[in-house]
């Protein structure tokens, strides 16, 4: 049975008068704010990414995942449909599924062996009629009232989303036409193939990660690797686009060259002399050429997903929050089932840019922990988010923090600040 989260009492916090060009630091630290986020954002009116269909190809295949900080399981039913259920026994709340993944015909809680089918229906309660006519459940105990909490599921192109809110519109409506076009660019109907997982725990607030992907401007300054090799840089053709609500965004760019231009003079990270000793790492194949000039599309989907397409490396980055000051970044790298061995090798090589030891992403995880250390003890101060102006419109460049402002426009509304 799905239930919609009830909202907390009003939190006694006031957003700065300047609006979305300021982000007060208490949003990254306050446990009450965090608790409200888990209820109204993650467990509320949103679709959360939980996994890929290629992770559970056969009936009975399941894998554990999260919606915010709530543990869930996604499972392939006998009829081929995907179900998502809370990993919480309806009896006494035990997180009954211990295995990270596996194949099952039913779920059995180890504590009192309440048993559920793959849809989450309660199908067995030992001692229901008592033992030797003693004990047992009351006569009016109805099995159908005590199934696992189920989530509304939406799939598209092999990607599984789930929501605790049964009133959600279609995923297509949720994403909107503009975002859907970018989503379908990667998930174009071809079967996906799993390449592996990377998981890291980062001591910062979950929103700091989302902001990182909505702020393309840092990349030209922080990331020596991206800048020097022209993989994602402010002087190359690029743009920032949002949906009408500000929930979702894309950062789009075309790969440039490893040479200094007028635009690189202020980029201290630019190292025109940087050479790879094994250049095979960055020999991309133009697999997106038929879909436009973009070589990088980073899409952020409210509230927990980043779709990464940098050259030929593809990954879902799922944000799993664990308290206001810690989150897990859960990376699922994938390719297409029709990739040849050379393409798979290329994707695996380029994956060196990303993950906990990534040539690029290490810079981010280190800086995000520093950001948390900075904001953590100054909750009354606020971030200045004015690059590219104070608005939330699309821009034909990446020298902007517009997508961060758009994100907070929606955040303020949902959170009721």
């Amino acid at each position: 049975m799905a239930t919609v989260a009830k909202s907390h009492n009003q939190i006694l916090r006031k957003w700065p008068d300047a609006g979305v060009s300021r982000v007060p630091y208490w949003v990254y630290t306050d446990p009450e704010v965090y608790a409200r986020e888990m209820e109204v954002i993650f467990a509320g009116h949103s679709y959360n990414y939980v996994g890929l269909e290629c992770e559970i190809p056969n009936p009975g295949d399941f894998r554990r995942s999260f919606v915010g900080d709530k543990p869930v399981i996604f499972v392939r039913d006998a009829d081929g449909a995907v179900n998502v259920v809370a990993n919480r026994c309806a009896h006494r709340g035990v997180k009954f599924c211990y295995a990270e993944h596996g194949n099952a015909s039913e779920f059995i809680c180890p504590y009192h062996q309440w048993t559920y089918d793959l849809k989450g229906n309660l199908i067995g309660v030992p001692f229901r009629r008592g033992v030797k006519h003693r004990g047992g459940m009351p006569d009016d105990f109805r099995m159908e009232d005590h199934g696992l909490q189920t989530l509304k599921v939406a799939t598209r192109g092999g990607v599984i989303f789930a929501s605790f809110d049964p009133t959600m519109p279609s995923l297509e409506e949720y994403l909107g036409e503009k975002m859907l076009r970018y989503f379908d660019r990667v998930f174009d109907g071809r079967e996906l193939t799993l390449l592996g997982y990377s998981r890291q725990r980062i001591r910062s607030n979950w929103k700091v990660k989302f902001e990182n992907l909505k702020d393309p401007y840092h990349a030209s300054l922080l990331h020596v690797f991206l800048v020097s090799f022209g993989l994602f840089r402010a002087d190359t053709p690029s743009r920032t686009e949002m949906d009408a609500t500000g929930m979702h965004a894309v950062q789009v760019a075309q790969r440039g060259e490893q040479k200094a231009t007028e635009g690189t003079s202020e980029m201290r990270a630019m190292r025109a002399d940087l050479k790879l000793h094994n250049p095979e790492l960055l020999q991309p194949y133009p697999e997106w050429a038929s879909k436009g000039d973009e070589t990088v599309v980073m899409q952020t989907i409210w509230p927990n997903l980043i779709v990464q397409q940098q050259s030929n490396t593809l990954a879902m980055r799922q944000i799993r929050a664990f308290g206001p000051e810690e989150y897990e970044l859960h990376w699922t790298f994938f390719g297409y089932a029709d990739d040849d061995a050379e393409m798979t090798l290329r994707r695996l090589r380029q994956a060196n840019l990303m993950g906990p030891a990534g040539f690029v992403s290490v810079d981010d995880s280190e800086v995000m922990e520093s950001a948390q250390s900075g904001v953590s003890r100054y909750p009354e101060a606020a971030a200045v988010v004015e690059m590219g102006g104070r608005g939330t419109e699309d821009t034909p460049h990446m020298v902007t923090e517009g997508a961060i402002r758009a994100f907070y426009k929606h955040y303020i509304k949902v959170m009721g600040f």
């Binding site: 592996g196 890291q200 798979t344 993950g355 030891a357």
Partner: protein, 165 residues
């Protein structure tokens, strides 16, 4: 291991010396010397036990050839932005599994402790080395790594892995 091929003591000691020198290079030595432990056509992979056991190929680090090893050094010395830290490798259960046709197969358990400024020491990574070494005339302890997989136990990595394992 069911088969108990006889491994001479000299080889066992050479492998131990080699892997300890490797660890010392990463912990206290000059990171620029790390590529000297590898052959020209080597493969180095840091991979979670989760991926390894599922047969998923994704490595947290995947470096091919000596050039790929050198690129990892460049990232530590020149391109990556990170907090300075101290690392300590603890290596134990070093075993030589076979020594055939010039290739020595070895395993060892490892734990890498990491200490960041103003923080207590924590376990960064622990797991098992699976190595294929070849004899060289001029390498450290006369051996070099042709293949090394570092298979780590916890799927969760605390923040970042800056230095190779």
């Amino acid at each position: 291991m069911a088969t108990k091929a006889k491994i001479d003591v000299e080889t066992r000691l050479a492998v131990e010396d080699f892997i300890y020198a490797y660890a010392d290079c990463l912990d206290h030595g000059d990171i620029e010397a790390w590529p000297d432990f590898f052959t020209e056509d080597c493969v180095y992979k840091l991979i979670s036990k989760e991926n390894y056991d599922l047969g998923l190929p994704l490595g947290t680090i995947f470096a091919e050839k000596r050039g790929g090893i050198e690129d990892r050094v460049t990232s530590v010395t020149h391109t990556t932005v990170y907090h300075q830290r101290a690392l300590t490798h603890l290596i134990t259960n070093t075993r030589v599994l076979s020594d055939k046709g010039g290739v020595i197969e070895m395993t060892a358990n490892y734990a890498v402790l990491e200490t960041l400024p103003n923080q207590y020491t924590r376990i960064l990574n622990s797991g098992r080395y699976l190595g294929r070494l070849v004899r060289q005339k001029d390498g450290p302890a006369c051996l070099r790594i042709k293949e090394l997989a570092c298979v780590f136990d916890s799927a969760l990595v605390p923040a970042s892995i800056i230095y190779p394992i």
